[in-house]
């Protein structure tokens, strides 16, 4: 079917699935993802692989919007208050997940680069589905605040770790036709460029957005400004080989700190972006290869169990050490389970960079992402509801931002 029909179908079925799963007290996000799985090539096949490639642009824009929203957690006043503990929790839970998964893979006799790559990918927590669940639950409170901070830092950390690890692998196994010095430079450059370069781009775009927004009042114009900035940011990142994820985060972070009317901007966005998100999750679901789940084998199980237990244990230990509220301590682990976009993106990077390790990494990560992405949002919702934070926020996501003054 052609792209317009696909988009229409995606939106309608996403809405339908969202309604259906609400009855089961499952987050709408899961409904969208399940609708995607059903429509996608691995099941009904109404959405072909070609459709998905064509719709990939929409998906990227949606991810840019989501990370732009997530970037708002890097507000100075909030970060001064939460920064240290968010950093510590993220470090501990990511490190534990990575160590447990790497250890498990080594125990199953995987080559060390495969084990370490799986470990690094395991650290990622899906920002999109987590943020969507927070919005859907209208949740607010210490758990929600920490969670938002963690998913932002966590993804940065994952990208940095991936950069470091690929540098080490490149230096050890060497790339074809490249001297050691050059591969060292290449690895170091990629690492710095992905983080610093993307942040620089995001800062510039955010600066422009903040400056221009003070001149624009009408909400329609604000929307055009926002959409234009984010599209430009994602597109420029692609062109410059930067990370759209980090750049979008940086745009959000810059704007929330510089624009006086950031709250109005985010409000405007949240009123218009649901179709994008619905599409994003349906496409994400369609790209999940559920047929791979049985093929993941013992390594896949070790990955799933290792990542879950690492995140649970890490979150538990860090929050206990920080003396946080028991609600945060008990339920933060549940809220960190979702995994999708970044993990799949890194798998694609592994595919093109290390074809020799790609089959194992791809199978394990894609299969487990299918599991985590279907279970994760429900788990997050469970955490928010149990911690008593669901429904405490107002209708919009902007409310999870601290009230100024």
């Amino acid at each position: 079917m052609n792209e317009l029909t696909s988009i229409g179908l995606i939106l309608l079925l996403a809405l339908l699935a969202g309604h259906l799963v609400k009855v089961l007290r499952i987050p709408e996000v899961t409904g969208y993802i399940l609708a995607g799985v059903a429509l996608g090539p691995s099941m009904l096949g109404w959405l072909s692989q070609e459709n998905l490639v064509a719709l990939g642009v929409l998906s990227e824009v949606a991810l840019g919007l989501i990370l732009f929203s997530v970037g708002s957690v890097f507000e100075f006043s909030r970060f001064r208050r939460l920064g240290r503990q968010v950093l510590l929790i993220t470090l501990v839970e990511s490190a534990l997940a990575a160590v447990v998964v790497t250890g498990g893979a080594l125990w199953l006799d995987q080559p060390w680069p495969v084990a370490v790559l799986l470990g690094v990918i395991a650290t990622a927590t899906a920002p999109a589905s987590t943020l969507m669940v927070i919005r859907e639950c209208d949740s607010a409170g210490p758990l929600t605040e920490n969670l938002l901070g963690i998913i932002a830092v966590n993804n940065l950390l994952c990208i940095m770790l991936y950069g470091l690890i690929t540098a080490v692998i490149d230096l050890t196994i060497g790339l074809e036709g490249i001297s050691t010095l050059e591969s060292l430079y290449r690895a170091a450059f990629w690492f710095v460029w992905q983080i610093i370069g993307s942040a620089a781009l995001g800062y510039l775009v955010g600066l422009m957005l903040a400056g221009w927004s003070s001149q624009v009042t009408e909400s329609g114009e604000i929307l055009i400004l926002l959409a234009g900035s984010i599209l430009f940011c994602v597109g420029a990142s692609r062109g410059l080989n930067l990370s759209p994820l980090v750049a979008s985060l940086a745009v959000g972070a810059t704007m929330v700190n510089l624009a006086g009317r950031s709250r109005q901007l985010f409000d405007t966005l949240s009123n218009t972006d649901p179709p994008f998100y619905a599409m994003f999750f349906v496409i994400a679901g369609a790209e999940l290869d559920v047929a791979r789940i049985p093929a993941m084998g013992a390594l896949g199980l070790v990955y799933i169990i290792g990542r879950s237990s690492g995140k649970f244990a890490g979150a538990g230990i860090a929050t206990w050490r920080l003396g946080l509220d028991s609600k945060v301590r008990n339920f933060l682990g549940f809220a960190l389970q979702a995994q999708a976009g970044l993990a799949i993106g890194l798998t694609l990077a592994v595919n093109s960079r290390y074809p020799q390790f790609a089959p194992v990494v791809t199978t394990v990560v894609l299969a487990s992402a299918a599991v985590f992405e279907m279970v994760g949002p429900t788990s997050t919702r469970f955490a928010l509801v149990q911690a008593g934070e669901a429904g405490l926020g107002k209708v919009t996501r902007a409310d999870v931002l601290p009230v100024e003054g």
Partner: protein, 421 residues
């Protein structure tokens, strides 16, 4: 104001970072994707892939044939192959009737002499024993299961030192007649030719399914189970005597003992034309009285005939009617037999009539029928004497006569002793 300054400195830094990064970016690793293949290239690719898979199939067959090669030998004298069946035993096509001497066996590495163990006119195969001289041989492994219809089967045989093979598809196993025997035959899509005789039919894992053997004027793949059964049955003393000398020897029945007025004895029941026994001058109805000076009263006493032939010729004391003859059975050498054949029992070279009396029909339940005479048999002798006239024959068989008579009957390539009473 201070804040504005920071923002401006940061923006400048960001621009510098992006510019510097863009300028300093590492060169692209040359990884130009190949241009998309055209339709014809794709078709060619598919054909090549199929070709490759066919090639690799042929390679697989060659490897399997190479694996079983060490279990296949060549017998230059007979011009057939042979399968290393068991410990030093080779199963091959039936040997020529008189080829009682040793035969040459050739493997991929060398050759050796082998002693015939089992062979004979009624046996659709032969077994020969090889010494330790022939290195590099390996016993065949019998297939563990019946292959599925349509699965691959591989005929492997030798032509001299070179191994040949032909792949085909297994169809089924069925019972069929091979010579005088019911055997299990393996039917495949392979056209079995005389040059494959003595080779093996293997499954895809190199397990032996059948031995390729002649059955009359056709070539058949005889299942390993039938080959094993034939080998067991043929490995009896009586069968060996038949194989070596063309003789069927048995104890006298009560009627026969009465006819010969003997208490017990051993009679030559059948003599096969062209064998050592016939060449030596033995006739059906001869009573063996002594073997190498030892008195013979029971078939067990002539077991030495079934033993592997030694250097020495065997001397038989034979009573034929009223006469006692000394007959020498040559040990192994066919030339020796032909030489001695002229000198058995002096003066007893028979003047066989050009057309012995042919029996056209046998009335059911008649004396002749009960005795085992069949239509088509030819009457050679009556009571050790050639019939003089048809009248004499008719008189002997007249209903009024009830005396038992010993007939010497020719049936095909055999002479039989039949007692009619």
């Amino acid at each position: 104001m201070q804040r504005q300054k920071y923002i401006a400195v940061l923006a400048l830094a960001a621009i510098l970072i992006l510019s510097a990064g863009w300028l300093l970016r590492p060169r692209e690793i040359p990884n130009s994707p190949a241009p998309l293949p055209t339709e014809s290239e794709l078709a060619l690719l598919a054909r090549r892939a199929e070709r490759r898979s066919l090639d690799s199939m042929a390679t697989y067959f060659a490897v399997t044939a190479g694996d079983v090669e060490s279990a296949i030998v060549y017998l230059p004298g007979a011009g057939t192959s042979g399968v290393v069946w068991g410990d030093g035993i080779i199963v091959t096509a039936p040997l020529l009737q008189q080829a009682v001497g040793t035969v040459t066996v050739q493997s991929g590495f060398g050759q050796d002499r082998a002693e015939p163990m089992i062979w004979g006119p009624r046996v659709p195969l032969a077994a020969v024993a090889i010494g330790d001289e022939l290195v590099g041989l390996r016993q065949v492994i019998t297939a563990t299961s019946i292959p599925e219809t349509g699965s691959w089967a591989l005929a492997v045989w030798r032509a001299g030192r070179d191994r040949s093979f032909a792949p085909g598809n297994y169809l089924q196993s069925a019972f069929a007649t091979c010579g005088e025997r019911r055997v299990e035959e393996v039917v495949s899509s392979l056209v079995l030719t005389p040059m494959m005789v003595g080779g093996g039919l293997f499954d895809i894992d190199g397990g032996l399914l059948a031995v390729i053997l002649p059955c009359g004027d056709r070539v058949a793949a005889i299942a390993t189970s039938s080959v094993a059964a034939i080998l067991t049955q043929a490995d009896t003393s009586g069968q060996r005597v038949l194989a070596r000398y063309g003789l069927v020897i048995g104890a006298l029945s009560d009627d026969e003992a009465a006819y010969f007025t003997l208490n017990d004895g051993v009679m030559v029941r059948e003599v096969w034309t062209g064998y050592l026994g016939a060449e030596a001058g033995l006739l059906p109805g001869d009573i063996i009285e002594a073997l190498d000076g030892t008195v013979v009263t029971a078939p067990g006493d002539v077991q030495a005939l079934g033993e592997p032939p030694g250097e020495q010729a065997l001397e038989l004391s034979v009573r034929r009617g009223e006469t006692v003859l000394t007959i020498v059975l040559a040990a192994t050498d066919i030339e020796a037999v032909l030489e001695t054949a002229a000198t058995p029992g002096a003066g007893l070279v028979w003047d066989v009539p050009p057309e012995p009396y042919r029996i056209d029909a046998v009335i059911p339940d008649s004396r002749a029928a009960v005795a085992g005479i069949e239509p088509g048999d030819r009457l050679v002798r009556i009571d050790h004497a050639e019939p003089r006239s048809l009248a004499q024959v008719q008189q002997i068989f007249a209903d009024t006569v009830t005396l038992p008579v010993l007939l010497d009957i020719e049936r095909g390539e055999r002479r039989l002793a039949v007692l009619v009473h």
